[in-house]
């Protein structure tokens, strides 16, 4: 008999005659302590993210591409990886077209097998959107898509992310409910709460372990 059969049989045998415990979740406990007044959400998010070395810039709907360009230039980045098929990717392409002095854009438009070495060795920065953020934990919600694959927010050492202030939620429970996560999860879903870090050596915090060393969030003040 298979391992599956044997294991399940043992477990069932151990539970013989018992009744499964009924649902005992406590919604209030995971929401009430983690609620913020609308005007506080942004401040709470910033506080937590900046505490772990995230760089945050407040922008407007009009000028965020210019601000992004500023940041790219300030870091002397040699290129920027974007998803040109997305709306925010489009805005970047348009802005870049008007400013030829900016470093070239790259597109993540083919399977990774076709350009893995370039992604790893010659792609200093990327720019992605977000599905919102969570004030209680200081986290960006990123759902990779065919247009914005997961490695965009992982491999390049600098990751720029665009967030709408109106999409900052209070807590993870609220996010799951309002975005209906349980009705269908994507291949990969992520919460990103800062640049990569580790305290594995003597508990001393060091940034830039394996993920991006820099996380720069442009927050559109549209709330």
């Amino acid at each position: 008999m298979s391992a599956k059969h044997n294991i399940l049989a043992k477990l069932r045998g151990s539970l013989a005659g018992t009744t499964p415990i009924a649902d005992n979740f406590n919604e209030a406990l995971v929401t009430e302590p983690w609620r913020y007044a609308p005007e506080q959400r942004l401040a709470q998010l910033r506080k937590l993210m900046e505490a772990v070395h995230t760089e945050i810039h407040l922008c407007s709907e009009q000028d965020w591409p210019r601000r992004l360009a500023e940041q790219v230039q300030a870091r002397q980045l040699l290129s920027l990886l974007i998803a040109p098929g997305t709306a925010h990717g489009q805005r970047v392409s348009e802005h870049w077209a008007l400013h030829p002095e900016l470093p070239p854009l790259k597109a993540y438009d083919r399977p990774i097998e076709q350009w893995k070495a370039e992604l790893f060795n010659d792609t200093p920065a990327s720019f992605t959107g977000t599905l919102g953020a969570i004030a209680a934990t200081g986290s960006l919600i990123i759902w990779p898509t065919p247009q914005e694959p997961r490695l965009m927010s992982l491999v390049p050492p600098v990751h720029f992310a665009l967030l709408k202030a109106s999409e900052i939620y209070d807590n993870l429970y609220e996010v799951q409910q309002r975005q209906k996560w349980a009705s269908g999860m994507p291949t990969n879903a992520l919460l990103v709460s800062g640049p990569s870090k580790t305290a594995d050596i003597e508990q001393v915090l060091a940034y830039g372990a394996h993920g991006p060393k820099d996380l720069v969030v442009l927050i559109l003040e549209d709330a």
Binding site: L15, T18, N24
Partner: protein, 274 residues
């Protein structure tokens, strides 16, 4: 208590019992109490037991000391000899049958009665009722003095600094550290100082101290160093197991510092005679 979190079926998955509600204490002092002295007090620190009796009598409470008492059973229980612990526990039950409080000058033994006797007798429904009744009227000494007697102590002693060490079970099962702090704070000439890693175990753990002497030894050395470095002139504790451990180590180190049971400390400071 046991039936609150156990499904009727013995192999049901367990959910942790709800937290104890804060203990409700009777409004007035009883006229009579039992003293469960504990085996360590009986043989090594009888003066602490006597001072506990004096403190209670001074509150106008009659103290009964059943001569047949011996040990709460904890050493066997923690060593895995559950049947033997149960035998001894059963013998104690019979001696404290009257419906008046049992006062215990040890947090770990009081904890044994309150927290672990129900576990020992969970398969004997009749005895379990008796045990639950006993648990409900068992008090650690300091707790009893503070919360039931609402004692007011006058400090007749010279200014002194003390460090308070609370046993792990007293701390975690009985909140004794808080009661002791409050009671000691009544003594106006006594300054209580904190010691480093105060909530850490002293390393006694009953048979642990003889089964794992290397590890236990390292723990008591750290504890005694912390006590010495606290600046206290003496150590006070509500548990004689810890007292034996700490004093035994201090003596071996030829240190000047010593510990005393809180009952003796309180009795002497408040003018009691022996």
């Amino acid at each position: 208590m046991s039936d609150l979190f156990y499904n009727a079926v013995p192999n049901a998955t367990r959910v942790a019992p709800p937290r104890h509600a804060p203990r409700q204490y009777p409004d007035s002092k009883p006229q009579r109490v039992y003293l469960f002295g504990t085996c360590v007090v009986d043989l090594f620190y009888p003066e602490a037991g006597m001072d506990a009796i004096h403190l209670l009598q001074r509150e106008g409470i009659a103290v009964e000391y059943p001569q047949g008492q011996s040990c709460c059973g904890q050493p066997a229980y923690t060593s895995g000899y559950t049947e033997q612990a149960r035998e001894v526990a059963r013998a104690q039950l019979a001696l404290f049958a009257g419906d008046y409080p049992v006062v215990v000058p040890s947090g770990s033994c009081a904890g044994m009665f309150r927290e672990h006797y129900p576990d020992l007798f969970k398969d004997e429904p009749e005895t379990l009722k008796q045990v639950q009744a006993l648990a409900a009227r068992t008090y650690e000494l300091v707790e009893f003095l503070l919360k039931v007697c609402k004692v007011q102590l006058n400090d007749l002693g010279q200014p002194t600094k003390i460090a308070l060490h609370t046993s792990c079970s007293a701390r975690r099962e009985m909140n004794t550290h808080l009661h002791a702090r409050e009671l000691l704070a009544q003594l106006s000439n006594v300054e209580r100082v904190d010691h480093d890693h105060e909530s850490e175990c002293c390393g006694f753990g009953g048979t642990f101290s003889v089964r794992m002497p290397d590890i236990s030894g390292a723990m008591v050395l750290d504890k005694t160093r912390a006590l010495k470095e606290s600046g206290a002139h003496q150590v006070v504790t509500a548990d004689c197991g810890c007292l034996m451990n700490i004093n035994g180590s201090l003596e071996k180190q030829h240190a000047a510092l010593r510990g005393q049971h809180v009952a003796s400390f309180l009795w002497q400071r408040s003018g009691g005679q022996r």
